[in-house]
Amino acid sequence: MKRNMPRGAVIAVLDRGDLSDDLESWSAKRGVGLDLRTFTSALELTGDGGPRSLDGLAITVAAAGPFLPEVLRWADSQLSDRMPTLLFGSGKEIEDDVATRQILGREQITWLPSGAARDDLDRWLILALEVKELRAFRRQHDQIAHSLRRARMQLFHGHDLDMEPPEGPPCGPPLPTTLEEVEPLKEARARFERAHIQAVIREQESLKEASVALGISYTSLWRRLR
């Protein structure tokens, strides 16, 4: 498991079966420390004692029962960002048919029929973790942009710069919005490659692994870093 995989992603599970156990074994196998919060009833999940901050929600139709619409509404209203959600079918045709109709238009919900392959569960968990990472980096970029703006306005008003601009996570070059801003293609690509290599090194445990992920030789990576 690469070091960029988030530790402690919080996943709420609404289930009366062994879904939590499946998720536990997945996290142990992949070395990802999932923080699983298991609930056995919709009221328990959506009540005052329920979670307020989640990275993912896994629900079984059997456990949600007739309260599935309330659970989905709760998820929509409690969280500012759309949450990766997994809905497991019960294997009963009528219940599953009603459930799939209720999730129409909610693109963030992944439907898995009862008895779905383990790979599908893997894919959803990786997606939930990746979304968590994307959000964490987005927040970091927004905070840095905000602090840079503040510092810029201080300079404009004649004050000294009271902060060192943070290095922050790497950024790809912005695309030009006017002809005057266009750089030669070679330079723009070089800027992008530099940032991309920095980002991949951040994502991997070692330079060796980074070179494999980048599809270039270790020597070539070393030369580019120099």
């Binding site: 980096f137 987005r138 510092a151 300079l155 790809g172 070059p173 912005p174 030009p176 266009v182």
Partner: protein, 245 residues
């Protein structure tokens, strides 16, 4: 994240010292952006010698037309505009200072040709009445830093937007398809997590495709696009064919 450090002073400078302050220059270099400073001098020949002494003759670009100042501001990343008080109205009209964030410094030797408070309110960064190199070095450095921070901010906002788009794609939103919308169409973000593209060549090709597409929207013809991109029309055409395949 934003470590508080001893203030970067803008006190008296040595001549030939009007550059970005070193912490700002170091971060800008980390982003792969040139730290070379540029001064766009409009209708103010009296300051030529002072500015040549402070930033070097090669970095001072004299303009007699205010329209060309606006183009130069977009072309140079670390840049400052210097003008005489007598030409400020025309320049501000063309530059639309409020929407083109650049340090605009006004030279007003008589001290009464302009209302400095009113100018500042309109977006002028400073009004100077003398030609002392120390005073100009101080203000120029501040204006270069101002512009550099803006470039860094733009980089971070842009990457944030790309991450946000990627998140929407993962959560089932269709990818942006309106590529003629210059403000929203972006290449994928840098890799985050195991589902991203890590391969250097594939990622660079995706960026290059987005870059070429953007430039073509800005140009009237493929020939012009090739010229501004510094490649031959045949090369540009070959790369586009490769993308289609």
């Amino acid at each position: 994240m934003t470590a508080i450090v001893p203030r970067v002073g803008y006190g008296p400078h040595e001549v030939s010292d009007a550059r970005l302050s070193s912490p700002v220059a170091s971060v800008l270099e980390g982003h792969g952006v040139s730290t070379e400073p540029h001064v766009e001098l409009f209708d103010c020949a009296e300051l030529r010698d002072v500015l040549h002494g402070l930033v070097g003759p090669g970095c001072v670009h004299e303009h007699s037309d205010s329209g060309s100042v606006a183009s130069a501001v977009r072309a140079h990343r670390v840049t400052v505009v210097v003008t005489h008080a007598r030409g400020i109205s025309e320049l501000m009209r063309n530059l639309s200072v409020e929407s083109a964030p650049v340090g605009l410094i006004v030279y007003d030797p008589n001290g009464h040709d302009s209302n400095s408070a009113a100018l500042r309110a309109q977006g002028v960064m400073d009004v100077l009445t003398d030609r002392l190199p120390e005073t100009w070095a101080d203000v120029l450095t501040r204006a270069f830093d101002f512009r550099a921070l803006l470039m860094l901010e733009l980089d971070h906002r842009c990457e944030s937007k790309r991450l946000s788009q990627r998140e929407l794609e993962l959560l089932g939103e269709p990818p942006e398809s309106l590529s003629d919308d210059l403000d929203s169409f972006q290449p994928p973000p840098l890799p985050v997590g195991p589902m991203s593209v890590h391969d250097l060549e594939s990622a660079s090709d995706a960026f290059e495709t987005a870059y070429i597409e953007r430039v073509q929207h800005l140009c009237n013809s493929a020939r012009e696009a090739a010229q501004v991109l510094g490649v031959s029309p045949a090369t540009l055409s070959r790369r586009q064919r490769r993308d289609i395949e």
